[in-house]
Symmetry: C2
Subunit: 385 residues, 2 copies
């Protein structure tokens, strides 16, 4: 297998972008990534997207985006893995370059979520759960994560203030990110006094509904330094894993076993361990998800994720900087784009281009993208070249 690098990145603004369409968002991010990389062609492209069928009545996104990007006849493939669609698309692009089939591959993720009403968006998102056993019975994602939070609080004495501390940290990081949807500084009291969505999760424990797109350009690592206009970052490992789709089938509601499995494979492929990582973008669709992710990734022991965030260990400057971008919570969560956007944050940090949120001496970073309640997990480890 060839080694693979990211040589260009492009992000749209994240937010309620009513004047932007699904295709415009993808094309904007892709053109930025192509320009940033400085390449004059692409050999193949991917589109990570969860549910354009339900959100916009459009499937067949590979061909659509190749067409609107002016890139037909290059091969173009859409990849879906619920909220891990972006990470899964990155993994496909990685394998295409690694296999030797293509040299320059564009991987973009996109979701246009605000063209439908809230009920329809909630329905569309619930298709990431088990339709026959969860969604059909009326439970939606805040409810599912609330059950996981309750289990974690029961088992490990995790507190609602620790959950809130995740939101407070991520919104603070988001104030330093110009693409963030909600770059507002908030307090623990703001979270605890906000509307309850599904006990114990308040609305400020939840990531928002977001429009946005993210794209990266991949090429073989041995050509990356020569080709890249603005710096290259090597993909040390790309790994994915799955768990039961329905919560009721899990061995442990308070653990993310697919994340742990993908991380274990990734650490092994990269020959690294958690203490080698200086920063990580994790999938904080709800605050409890960040706490459980930092445990599953091996940064903290099980049950220690809550106290760690409260003690500032996951802040910029802490033991391991988690979600320096603001995370899904503050930056926003256009579901199909998220996995790619996570990689972009790590690339910008490893290139030293993260401005006010720069992590000092960042050499190795990691992303952890999840689908559903953790039934899909995709993990990447990245190193400055």
């Amino acid at each position: 297998m060839r080694e693979v690098a990211i040589i260009g990145v492009g992000l749209t603004k994240f937010g309620e972008l009513w004047e932007q369409s699904l295709r415009n968002l993808y094309v904007e991010a892709a053109l930025k990534a192509i320009k940033d990389a400085g390449v004059d062609h692409i050999d193949s492209m991917y589109v990570g997207c969860m549910s354009s069928g339900l959100f916009t009545g459009q499937e067949h996104l590979g061909a659509l985006m190749a067409d609107y990007l002016g890139q037909a006849p290059v091969p173009a493939t859409r990849v879906e893995s619920a909220c891990a669609s972006g990470g899964a698309a990155l993994r496909m692009g990685y394998m295409e370059v690694a296999s030797g089939q293509s040299d320059v591959v564009l991987v973009g993720g996109v979701e246009k979520m605000t063209d439908v009403g809230g009920d329809e968006a909630t329905y569309a998102l619930a298709t990431a759960s088990d339709q026959e056993w969860e969604a059909f019975n009326g439970v939606t994602f805040p409810g599912l994560y609330a059950m996981m939070a309750v289990a974690h609080m029961e088992r490990y004495k995790t507190t609602v203030k620790q959950l809130a501390a995740v939101a407070v940290k991520n919104h603070l990081n988001g104030t330093k990110n110009p693409t963030a949807q909600f770059p507002a500084k908030i307090s623990v009291d703001d979270v605890l006094n906000s509307v309850m969505v599904a006990d114990p999760l308040h609305i400020l424990d939840c990531s928002p509904i977001t429009d946005g797109a993210a794209a990266v350009i991949l090429c073989p690592a041995d050509k990356a330094k020569k080709v890249a206009k603005h710096g290259a970052v090597k993909i040390l490992a790309s790994a994915a894993a799955t768990d039961t789709i329905a919560l009721h089938s899990r061995k442990d509601l308070a653990a993310l076993d697919a994340v742990a499995k993908a991380a274990s494979v990734a650490f092994s492929l990269a020959n690294k361990k958690p203490s080698d990582i200086q920063l990580c973008e994790v999938h904080d669709c709800f605050t409890i998800a960040e706490i459980m992710s930092t445990e599953a990734l091996g940064f903290f022991e099980k049950g220690k994720g809550g106290p760690a965030v409260e003690a500032g260990e996951t802040a910029i400057g802490g033991k391991i900087a988690v979600n320096t971008s603001g995370g899904l919570k503050s930056k926003g969560h256009p579901v199909g784009a998220t996995g790619v956007a996570q990689a972009i944050e790590i690339v910008e940090q490893l290139r030293g281009q993260a401005g006010a949120r720069q992590v000092a001496k960042a050499k190795i970073g990691m992303t952890s993208n999840m689908g559903g309640t953790g039934a899909s997990a995709v993990v990447h480890i990245l190193e400055a070249l």
Copy 2:
């Protein structure tokens, strides 16, 4: 890149399977393929599916199918490329094995289309066209292919009897295929006297709405003969291409340029030419699509596809046997499964297991899977091992 082989195949019955669910169909095909291959594990899996969100309210198919197949935590990814989703999934699995990332990969395709009414199914299928410029204005797939048929008839004097000859041949082949949805022998008059859907396409020019699944097992070609219980088939080439998603942007309504491009890449990778191929499964979603496909693939000159089918050149025993399985027309068209099912027909023929529809001395076969009106094309060339 490593060479890749197909070592196991599994198909469900195709039809209106009201007692089967989306997940059951996939699992049935996957278990058959695993048993046929004789493998005791898989390293990774793919799910080709076009629009489970709109057909059944279920996305996140990778994790869902891994779970119901009892294969979690293996990586599982859903691939969408409209009606070419199955072919695209096969290409992803091919690259994963070729890259060296995995040794044993399951690639399945599935669609459960009959859980919704006809209007909803027509809407779901129309999401493969350009939502903003085609579907939104009310045109559906029979209308789009009717425009292509009219252009082809105008340019090349193709006749409605030649269109009907495709249906007659494929339904005859389908009578020899136990999994076919409509294994009924029909005549040219039956086609011409059937209900007009979109002039010049009668209902017997159209492929049906179908439930079904198909699955194959891939492994490195150098291990295939040793591993495979029932014979192995090498993938000589896997290629994909795109065209404009909307018909109005095409240079030529009477040509399938993405199919031609993918075929040209595939022939080059395989170091073969059209005359080396003894049989081909093409994407006859409408009769005109088969005629245009046999031209785009290089089996006949442009404009000669119609006379060729009328003269029996594409029948079993003719110059090149096209759609020996019965094709989408007679076998059925569960859209996400089709690309994988096409590969299975070629495998069975190259193994000499095709029974009454066996092509004599079949050594090299080909599949051509399309999405939309040909905006996506995926081509595979297979050789007996």
